[in-house]
Symmetry: C2
Subunit: 440 residues, 2 copies
């Protein structure tokens, strides 16, 4: 049996590994355009800031590991040009080659969304979506004085920290009023205040042009212009679906590849997983596009099980995320209140700011927002401050199990004075929601 | 309506506060033997080590807060001598007084278990179960050179750190082979190694006598003797049930006060909550005695709701716990494997040691043990190392919702390189259990 996997990122390698474990004698080929496999762009900010010293460390495993230890036929620097029924054509070392497949996985990932302004392709305008660019940014940034970052999603925020840590002048431009636009304002406003202390953060401002002769010289917005030596574009991403479309694979409403819970597309023996594929949002029960490393890896795993002829279903994801800016940790699981409203939920919410640990061993404050529907089902939790990860771990776990407000109150979250509180902030939020829900 | 609450600890004050919120005009009296209310002995090790500078900081709120802000009639230094039908007799400022009640809560807490050796009452032998003793230990320890701690449960371990931090010579004596005897050996052995580097830790050794003239001079065990200036007894605790028994309140098999999920005892209008009461172990579904601050507070809350004439059920607890020893965090939720076997479960388990964060931003290792039954229901998780709290938060949440191994695999635990991993250690444990359970 011949399996072709297009894309050697998290989902592709996770799927390939699973198949070789369940079907050691199958021929599993991975076609990867870049020189890297199992690449993890999540680490790029830490490479740029110098916390991580080699770009190779950002790949979970090297190619030899997959080739020798796992028996996967990994073809790097190999671009798939065309996919046909049972075959595919690639460009490799400047030569075209043809391969055959019985089962196929699209794990083509996502790419940075374009800014859609003039001069976007000029030297010095970069995204950090690909591991190769991480290296380029690191190399170029040394000789830069001013860097403009466009977009304040988690990548923009993490890059703002990484580059300001290098002592560079950072301008962060966000078209919305608050950073992390997918979060609610109660969280965004805390981050906004902190960002403004460290970088030149411009909100409600829209990039209109990038200008420069041979390389970028300035960014022009609807409110001003900013001289700079580099632009980092971090306004989001979009799924790579062109090859799949070519084969006739159906896309979902989100624009990503539609799959069922076994990661099957509409075409027999063709699967998809990772940032190019849709998944189910566990809160809404509807298809969603959640391009994050954790679901990507697990979707790859599930695809691998099913391609191998066994059965496993992927239950979906929660948009769970943790990020940070200097001393602030930031995280979410489930829906923000504005997302919940967009999905038609009638919401109730509570936001508290409290110590993250025992009052007498303070390590800082945490702000927690909890959103529920009017029947008391919790829809999402967002946090910013100290001790965020443990609360998002608990929230993800409870939301995964479709928890009610009572579950957040009673789940036995333990107390250790340097780490937590007797009444955990999550429990206090639940108790405050009790009042609004009429629970005694 | 007259409500009498015996005991002003976590459960008592939590209950009193709830009643006054739901029934502001009821007469709520709290009878507390010590000068403190809402006292939290969990903080004593941090007071002894100097991290917390005032003993008053260990009380969540002071008495005036409860009296003035919450309208609770708090009577401190007031010992209840006898409880009768609708009345109770107390000793207060050397005088006996009589009070009446329509509804009664036993929140009498627990006390340190006796060592049952000679000279246990001699000067210099202390437990840290009461906040008053925290002060005494702190005062005496200054002039001590050697301190023997008997017992290596979490209190013993935390006191060993607190006192060794003061530069004192600590002998820790444990009758079992490993510290934290309620944990499995995979966790205990990691702690044992670390303990032995810092204190004189003696395992499989039993205290036979305490000796001294006016005050303690040495501890004699079945294997040797240890000169010392102070002994801290930390071999466990037992519920204070004498007053309840006197009234005819039924005890459960654990020896603590039997209550239903509304915290009602066998006697009408008589309730119990906190360390003196039983609760349900969520994993076994059977009555258990879990004397920890988090369930105590919530049991008090639930008792308050029900005493006030509303309805709320306490679902039970998981023995969830976090503790620590220097750089090691230690935690558990649910059952250890030996406890599970004791309860008749046929168990499967896996233990892994791995990095707690992304490989390229290492902050140390974590060892995780996960135990399931043969149908794949997870029975418990134990951790030691770095980043323990977030995993125990997730484990408590999932176990509370009666999670299967698949739930631990698929719960969307987020990845942020300085905080976590793409494949969280909990997920890796679940994946390893898949193999043992025959899940592809």
């Amino acid at each position: 049996m011949k399996v072709a996997i297009i894309g050697g990122g998290a989902a592709g390698m996770s799927c390939a590994s699973r198949i070789k474990r369940l079907r050691p004698d199958w021929d599993v080929k991975v076609f990867e355009k870049s020189p890297y496999v199992s690449h993890a762009p999540c680490g790029i900010p830490f490479y740029v800031s110098g916390i991580v010293d080699s770009i190779n460390n950002l790949c979970s495993y090297d190619i030899d590991f997959f080739r020798e230890r796992r028996g996967i036929d990994v073809l790097t620097r190999t671009e798939v040009l065309e996919v046909g029924d049972g075959e595919l054509h690639v460009l490799r070392d400047g030569r075209k080659e043809r391969f055959e497949w019985d089962k196929l996985l699209f794990a083509t990932g996502a790419r940075a969304a374009p800014l859609n302004v003039q001069c976007e392709e000029i030297e010095g305008v970069l995204c950090v979506h690909y591991i190769e660019n991480g290296e380029k940014v690191k190399r170029l940034v040394k000789n830069c004085r001013s860097i403009v970052i466009v977009g304040s999603g988690y990548i923009g925020v993490e890059m703002a920290e990484a580059i300001s840590r290098l002592g560079k002048n950072v301008v962060l431009i966000e078209k919305e009023e608050y950073p992390l636009p997918e979060y609610d304002v109660e969280i965004g406003s805390v981050l906004k205040e902190r960002l403004q202390k460290v970088v030149n953060a411009r909100f409600s401002e829209k990039v209109e042009a990038i200008e420069g002769k041979d390389r970028v010289e300035r960014v022009v917005t609807d409110k001003g212009e900013y001289r700079c030596d580099m632009v980092i574009s971090a306004i989001g991403s979009q799924p790579n679906i062109e090859l799949a479309k070519q084969l006739g694979v159906k896309l979902g409403k989100t624009g990503a590849i539609a799959v069922n819970s076994r990661m099957q597309t509409n075409i027999e023996n063709v699967y998809s997983a990772g940032d190019c594929a849709e998944t189910t949002n566990i809160i809404t029960g509807k298809p969603d596009w959640i391009p994050l490393a954790v679901p990507a890896n697990k979707m790859g795993y599930v695809a691998g099980v099913n391609i191998s002829g066994f059965e496993m279903e992927f239950p979906g994801a929660l948009r769970s995320q943790i990020t940070g800016f200097y001393d602030l940790e930031i995280g979410r699981a489930g829906l923000s209140e504005k997302e919940a409203k967009m999905h038609g939920f009638e919401t109730i919410s509570v936001t508290i700011t409290t110590k993250s640990t025992a009052r007498y061993i303070p390590n800082g404050d945490i702000t927690v927002k909890m959103v529920s529907d009017v029947d008391g089902r919790v829809l999402g939790v967002q946090c910013i401050g100290k001790g965020v990860a443990k609360r998002i771990y608990a929230a993800s776990s409870l939301l995964y199990k479709k928890a009610m407000v009572e579950d957040f109150f009673f789940a036995d979250l333990p107390y250790f004075p340097p780490e937590s509180r007797v009444w955990d902030p999550l429990v206090v939020c639940a108790r405050n929601l009790f009042r609004k829900l009429g629970i005694p």
